[in-house]
Homo-oligomer: 200 residues x 6
C-alpha cells in the first residue's frame, strides 16, 4: 500500500489502563487472555464503563454460553449474518473467527457474512437466519406466521426465543461497535482458517 | 367497538407465576410494584429467562438511572424517539409515560414519538435526537462529523456515549418487545397526562 | 424542562385573522368551535388559502362523514396508522383523539399509531390497515390479490374504495401538515382518555 | 406483439354512464371534452363518486389553474417528477402531455419523468423539483433549511406553498390512480410531441 | 419556457472527434448512422474509451441481437422497465423508442417505464418483468422459487438466463449513463410514435 | 457441523465440459489455471455462453488490468466494497483474495467488505469508495458536487471514470453471480492471508 493510510485505533474513546480497572473487570480480561491468547478489543473498549461492561457480558454469556437447542456454531451464524447486515466490522470479523472455530468449517463465516442464502448450511439453518434477519431489520412486522415457519423446521419455542434474543443483543452490540469504531484484533482474521491438527 | 376484537395478552410466551421466580426477581418486581403501583409487563415477560432478566435490567439501570450530562427526561426522549422509529408499541407507550412524568410535560411524549423535528424541544435536544436516530437506523455511517456537531451543542464525550448507548440498548429492547408482542399495561396510557397538584 | 425550549407556533405560515376570512370559512370555523369547544389548528392553517380550504374539507367530509361499510372509528384507524407511518404529528395527535372518542377505547389510538399489528383490533380491521398501509407506502404495487384478500374479510368494493381513498387523502394531508409544521392543539392530547360518565 | 395481451380497462371499477351522472359532473365532462377533444379517463373514473369528484377537481383547479409565481409548465413539472417517483402511469402520461403543451417543449416531460436532475431545466427549477421530491418522498424531514434554499432562488413563501401543495395533491392523486389502475387515454401519448405550426 | 435553461451536452466528458477514433469504432458508428439515420449518443460517449466501447457493444449484441426464446420487443421491455427503476433517462428514452419500433405499439414503452404492472402485456411478460426487477433491485434474494414461477409461464432455463443477463447488463449501462449524464438524442423521443403506413 | 448441510454447486446452471468449449475459451481458462493454480468458478459458469464470456472478460480486463491512476489494489477495493453492498458472495470472496494479494495487506479485504468507513485506508481512498458506493447504490443522484469532491483528493477525470466504470461493471457481475448462485472456489478463502516469505 502507499504508506499513507493510518491504522485505526481500538476505539474512538481512550481505553483505560488495566491497573485502573475494577478487580472483576481485570479478572475477566485476564481470563479471556489466558483462554484466547489475546484480549479481544471489545473488552478494552467497554472497560471505560464498568457497569455497562458487566451487563453487556452477562447478557452475552446468558445467550451464547448456555445450553440451547441451537448449537454454538448456529448461534455464531446468527451473529455473523445480522452483523453483516448492520455493517459492523468488529462483529463480523471477531464472531466470524469464532464461527470458524466452533463449526470447524473455514469457509462458513465469509459465506454467511455476505449472503447466508448462498452459504453451505441446512434448510433448517436457513430458516433460522431468515428469522434472525427479520428481527435485525424489520422486527415491527414479526407475526404468527414466522413462528409457524420455524416450528415446521423443529425449532421449539425456546429455540425461537434464542434466535430472536441473539439477533436483538447484537443489534445493540453492532450499534455500539459502529459508534465506537471498534477495531477487530488482527488475531481474529486468521483464526480457524488453517486446520490445526494437534487440537483435533 | 364491535366486541369482536381480542385484547392481546402480555406476551406471546407464557408468563411465569411469581412464586416460581428466583428471589431476586421477585424482590425487583415487588419493588417496582410498590413504587409504581403496578408491575410493568416487561418485568413479567422477561422473567421467563432469569439470566437475561438480570442482565437486561442491569444494563437499563446503568444507562437510565445513573448521573449523566443528560437529564432523565432527555434520556427518555431518546427512548421514545427511537422506539417510534422501530415500531415498538410497548416502549413508546411505557417510556412515553415516564417521559411525561420526568419532563412534567404532558405533550412531549406524543410529539417525540411521531416526529421529534416538530417537538417542543431545544436545538440541543434536537441535535441529540438526530444522533440517536442515526445510531438506531444507520449506525454504519457514524463518522467524526457527527461528534463535531454534538460538541458544538456542548455535549461532552461521555454525554455522546450516553446518547449512543441508550439508542443501542433500546435497539435490543425494541426488537425483543416486537418479538414478544409485549403489551403495554393499561396504566401507562394516562400516566403523566393529568396534572396531579398534590405531587408538585 | 430547562425552560429553553420554544413552544412551536400553529404553522410555519402566518395565520389569518378571523375577521379577514370569507364568510363561509368563518361559518365553518365557528361551527367546529361550537361543536368541539376549540378550533383545531388545521382550520386556521388552511384558512390562508380559502380555495384550498374549501376543497380540502369538502374532500375530508366526503370520506369521513358519509355512510360507509366502515365505521367512523375504523376510518379514523386508517388515518392514525398511515399518519404514523408518514411521521405526521398533527394527524396522529388530532385523529388519535377522534379515534378514542369514536371507538370509546382510550388505548386504541396509541396502539395503532405505533404498530397496528399489535393493536386490540379484529382480523378484519388488521386486513383493512394492511391495505391502507400499502396505499400509503407502496401504491405502485397494488394488485388484484389485494382485492381478493379484502373481499375474504367481507369488504365490498365500495368499502375497499373507502379504505384507499382515506389513505390517499391523508397522504395529501400528512404532507401538508409536515410542510406547514402544523401544531396539534393542546386539547387533543387528553381527549377521549378519561371516561366521561355523564356522556355514556 | 403476440396478440395475447389484454388492453387494460379505464379503471378497476365500473365507470358510470354519462346519463346517470349529476348535472354538474356532466357539464364538467362536456366542457373538458370540448376543450381537449376527448374525456380524460380520470373524469370517468372519479365520476363513480360525485362528492369526491367535486372536491378532487376543485382542489386540482385551485392549485393548477390559478395565478402563481410558478408558471403552468413548472407546476406540471412538479406533477410529472413526483408521479414518476410514485410509479403512477396515468399521471406521468397525462400530465406529461400537458407539460409538453404548456412548455412547448416536446422533450421535457420524458426527461423529468425519469430523472429531473438530467432535464433541460434551470437551476431554479431544479431546486423547485428537489423540494417537491422531498415533499413526495420524505416530508417528515422538511426543515427550515429547505425554505432557505428555495428563497435563494427567488421563490416567495406563496410559491413554496404552491410547490408543496401540488406535490401533496398528487400524492393523493397518484395513490388513487394506482389503486384504480387508471388507464391513460391513448390520445395523451402523442399530444405536444409534434409541432403544430398553425397554433404557434 | 423561460429561455434560461441550458440544453445539456451529450456527456459530462468531452466526446472524441470521429477522425481520432480507431477504425473499428468508426466503422461501427458509421454503420449505426446508416441504419438509424443518426448516431445514438451512447456510441459517442463510450468512444472515449475504445476498449470499453468494444466490450460494451459486444456484450450488448450478444444479448440483444441473438436468437432467443424472448422476442426482441420483450428484451427491450426488460431494458425499459429496469432503466426506469434506476432513474436512467438515456436508456428509458432510447430503448423506449426501440421498444415502440419492435413491438409496433406506440404506447407500451411509456407504460412499462413508469409501472409495468399496469402495462398492456401478457401475464407471461409480467412474470418476466417481475424477475427482471428483482435482478435489478434485489438480486441478493434470488431463490429457487423465482425459477419455478418463471418455468410455470413456459420460460426455459436459457430464457431465464436471458432475462437475468439483460437486467444485469443494463445495471451496468444505467450506472454509466447516469454517471456520464448521457443525453438521449432528440430523435428518439418521436420514434415509433407515429404510424408509418408505408412500412406496415 | 451436523453433516446435513449440502455443499452448494459451482452454479445453478450446468457447467460445460472443457472439451466442449471453443478454443479461445479453453486457452483463457488454461492460462488462468497456470497462473493461479486453479480455475476460478466464474470462468466455468460463464463458459456456458461463449459470446457473453468473451465480452465479460474483455470488459473486466479493460478496467482491471490496464494502466490507471488507481492502483490495482485500489481497484479491487472498489470491487470488494460494492460487492459487499450488493450481497455478492462470489465477488467478495474472490476479489477479497485478490485485494489481499495486491495490497499485501491480509486485513484490508475483510474490513472493506463490511464497512469501508472503518478500514485502514487513506482519506483519498475513502473518498474513492464513497463515490463507488453512490454509483453502486444511488447513481440517479450523481451530480457535479461529486466530481468536485473527488478532484479535491487529486483524482483526474480519467481516474473518476475508472471508479465509476468499475463500480458499474461489478453491478453487472454481482447480479449475474447472485443469479447463478455462483460458488467461490475454496482456494480463495485463504489466499493472501498467510505471509509467504519467499515471495516478498
Amino acid at each position: 500500500m502507499t504508506g499513507l493510510e493510518s491504522k485505526r485505533p481500538i476505539s474512538r474513546y481512550a481505553v483505560p489502563k488495566p491497573e485502573d480497572l475494577p478487580q472483576d473487570l481485570r479478572d475477566r480480561i485476564l481470563a479471556v487472555q489466558e483462554k484466547s491468547g489475546f484480549v479481544p478489543n471489545v473488552f478494552l473498549a467497554y472497560a471505560r464503563r464498568p457497569e455497562e461492561f458487566r451487563a453487556f457480558f452477562a447478557y452475552h454469556d446468558a445467550l451464547m454460553e448456555k445450553e440451547s437447542g441451537l448449537t454454538k456454531a448456529e448461534r455464531e451464524m446468527i451473529v455473523v449474518a445480522t452483523s453483516g447486515a448492520n455493517g459492523c466490522q468488529y462483529c463480523v470479523v471477531a464472531h466470524g473467527a469464532i464461527l470458524r472455530v466452533r463449526s470447524k468449517n473455514p469457509l462458513l463465516a465469509d459465506q454467511v457474512a455476505v449472503n447466508y442464502l448462498e452459504a453451505d448450511i441446512t434448510p433448517r439453518q436457513r430458516a433460522m437466519l431468515r428469522f434472525a434477519m427479520k428481527i435485525a431489520l424489520d422486527s415491527r412486522h414479526v407475526a404468527e406466521e414466522d413462528f409457524g415457519a420455524l416450528r415446521q423446521h423443529g425449532f421449539s419455542d425456546d429455540d425461537i426465543w434464542d434466535i430472536a434474543a441473539i439477533a436483538s443483543f447484537f443489534a445493540l452490540s453492532n450499534r455500539m461497535a459502529n459508534f465506537l469504531g471498534m477495531r477487530p484484533n488482527d488475531e481474529f482474521y486468521l483464526l480457524g482458517r488453517v486446520p490445526r491438527p494437534e487440537r483435533r
